[in-house]
């Protein structure tokens, strides 16, 4: 069961990366499929917890560097086939049938998807129609690597906390934060792909999500959000002269962090009151 969960985690990320690589109508389909695979991952995680098995979010490295979209789609199809076979040996037949049905449909759609040339790894570091100075380009490059990983990290942390909580109030907060981080991850990943510097977020260390002190975690989380706001502000200033459009985007992300902080403060008050 654990292995099935880990392999689903890997295919979810690979599908998401394929979405970043696409510049056509395929993109939204691939994003939707990656969302479906993330849900499969959470269902399987729930089963692992129900079975009382210990687990982690460790996974293998995912090779994504391709020249054509079909190359990664074929790899994903092979991995979906393996998942389909692994499902046969897991105990919850109803869950397996539900996941298998999704896999069969996704596999069929991927088989017929139009091919595209992939430029997400060319390291050109140029945005279409935007000329940034070298300094702004470097700042944006570092920001995208830092924050793409950070958003993935936050999704995994909040998902782990939610998976181990029966508290409806906290789970509402965790789910909102997961949804917000997914939005940021998709935007930053897309920008990384446009810049030709797409990379898979690295595996996160267990101690980050196997949180022992939730209050301390929330306090540190608020500080990190404040730091992220500062980074957005710096980046907005750095790119503002060359691209008011990009500056507006980073101001928008900056303001979204206020809501995250507010949610985490609500969670802190909730824990203090218990």
């Amino acid at each position: 069961m654990q292995n099935l969960m880990i392999k689903t985690h890997e295919v979810w990320l690979e599908m998401l990366m394929a979405g970043f690589m696409s510049n056509t109508e395929n993109k939204q389909v691939l994003f939707d499929f990656s969302d479906i695979l993330f849900r499969h991952f959470t269902w399987l995680e729930h089963e692992v917890i129900e079975l009382g098995e210990s687990y982690s979010y460790d996974r293998d490295a995912i090779a994504i560097k391709v020249d054509r979209l079909q190359d990664i789609l074929q790899d994903i199809i092979k991995k979906l086939d393996v998942l389909d076979l692994q499902l046969l040996s897991s105990p919850d037949k109803e869950l397996n049938a539900r996941i298998a049905s999704d896999i069969h449909y996704m596999r069929d759609v991927l088989h017929h998807m139009n091919d595209e040339v992939v430029t997400a790894f060319n390291m050109a570091r140029k945005f279409p129609n935007i000329d940034l100075t070298q300094e702004a380009t470097d700042a944006l490059t570092l920001f995208l690597f830092e924050e793409t990983y950070k958003e993935y990290e936050l999704i995994m942390i909040y998902n782990y906390l939610k998976a181990h909580s029966d508290d409806a109030y906290m789970n509402r907060i965790f789910q909102i934060l997961i949804d917000e981080s997914f939005f940021h991850l998709k935007r930053f990943g897309d920008m990384g792909a446009k810049m030709g510097i797409l990379g898979v977020p690295r595996v996160i260390m267990k101690e980050l999500y196997q949180v022992e002190d939730i209050v301390q975690f929330l306090k540190e989380g608020i500080n990190e959000e404040l730091a992220a706001k500062e980074e957005c502000k710096k980046l907005s200033d750095a790119v503002g002269k060359d691209s008011p459009e990009l500056a507006k985007f980073f101001d928008f992300i900056n303001h979204q962090e206020n809501y995250h902080i507010s949610l985490m403060e609500d969670a802190l008050k909730y824990f203090d009151g218990r």
Partner: protein, 152 residues
Amino acid sequence: MTVDAQLIEHMMNPKNYGSMESADTQGIGKNPENGEKVAIYIRVGKDEEQPYVQDIRFQAIGCTTTVVAGSMLTEEAKGLHFQGIQELVDTTMNFLDKIPEEDAACSEMVALAIKAAIDTYTKRQEDADYPVITYTVSNSCVPKEDHSEGHK
């Protein structure tokens, strides 16, 4: 950090990233100021009775600079005998005052984690239960042993 193609390659595909189930030794480097840390895992080979780094992995709670430093230094460390590892650590430590301060702490943390892993291995030749050694970064670059975490 000055961003060039080589650095971007390490950011996009960090080399040797991840944990290692069958590691013979581990070491930790950490920065107590911000909670960042690097864990190093090494599988040790024997070449004419001299131990060497057969395989190496690292994981990091830290920034992109730390990941780039981990990727570069673990690539350098692969295949080196322990004497060569000590030289790699020394060279890195001597280089720290030539790079920006914020980048220096990241590279120092990786170098100290590698040193910690080698030192843990050496200690375990006498005491198999010796805990994983943690070194903390310091301005003077003198490693200070800390047994507050990281038991075998």
